[in-house]
């Protein structure tokens, strides 16, 4: 049996080594100075760019307060003083999350920030918005009070009318609670991380040129 030539052996080992290929691909697409930059272009010096960061900060509070609520349970969040505080913290951090997500959406819309290969970043943002609305709706159904019962009974007709009542049963508390505390938050968090990585990969979109030269 012939001995393998050193050069050929290395080349074939590299081509078959998926960890090496993935590492090189990440290094090429998202070097660390892009992932954690210490400077930004001059046009980023505007409060409009703060809306997205506030949205992420609100999401952190939503998840933190939600973890506490799920650990302690509905009797705690409806009866005890601290529980009602965390219940309110969860509700109001969601309000901040949605308000600043919409402000971020307005800002990015008027910047046309889907330009220069950033369409997928924009689309992921749209999906985050949709999944967040679904998460909020299942949250209203998970309150364990008369309000959630009223909403569930009214929403049942809407879901049946839309043809999804068999798969998405708003009267099934276990299904709504499971979606709200497990699947949908994981989905939102994963999509937000993906969204941020894509922003870091491409960088912040350049301002639209007054003459329209930068429009695509």
């Amino acid at each position: 049996m012939d001995a393998p030539r050193p050069g050929v052996e290395r080349s074939s080992a590299e081509s078959g080594n998926w960890t090496l290929r993935v590492r090189r691909s990440i290094d090429r697409r998202l070097p660390m100075d892009h992932l954690l930059p210490d400077r930004q272009p001059y046009f980023v010096g505007s409060w409009v760019y703060v809306f997205g960061v506030i949205t992420i900060a609100a999401l952190v509070w939503v998840i933190f307060s939600g973890v506490v609520l799920s650990f302690m349970g509905p009797q705690w969040w409806h009866v005890s003083g601290v529980g009602r505080f965390f219940n309110s913290l969860h509700f109001w951090s969601v309000q901040v999350f949605f308000i600043f997500m919409v402000l971020h959406l307005w800002g990015q819309y008027f910047m046309a920030s889907w330009r220069d290969g950033r369409a997928s970043t924009w689309i992921i943002g749209v999906v985050i918005f949709a999944v967040s609305i679904l998460t909020a709706f299942t949250g209203y159904l998970s309150q364990q009070n008369f309000d959630s019962q009223f909403i569930a009974i009214n929403a049942k007709d809407a879901m049946n009318g839309a043809g999804v009542g068999a798969f998405f049963n708003v009267l099934n508390f276990g299904q709504m609670y499971g979606l709200h505390v497990m699947l949908l938050p994981i989905g939102v968090t994963f999509l937000v991380v993906w969204h941020i990585v894509m922003v870091r990969t491409r960088g912040v979109v350049k301002p639209i040129d007054r003459g329209g030269a930068n429009r695509q």
Partner: protein, 49 residues
């Protein structure tokens, strides 16, 4: 707190006072963000303001 809120009805637009205040506040905040000076205005890699 238990009384129903005020609603505004202009043509096909029907909106509650709290929702109108939230949307109005968002529009104002967006406008302020456009014009308010940003502290420590960022410099680019060339130190350009």
């Amino acid at each position: 707190m238990d009384s129903p809120t005020t609603y505004f009805h202009w043509g096909f637009i029907l909106i509650s006072l709290p929702n109108l205040l939230v949307i109005g506040g968002m529009v104002v905040l967006f406008a302020v963000a456009l014009v308010a000076p940003f502290p420590h205005g960022g410099l680019d890699d060339d130190g350009r303001p």
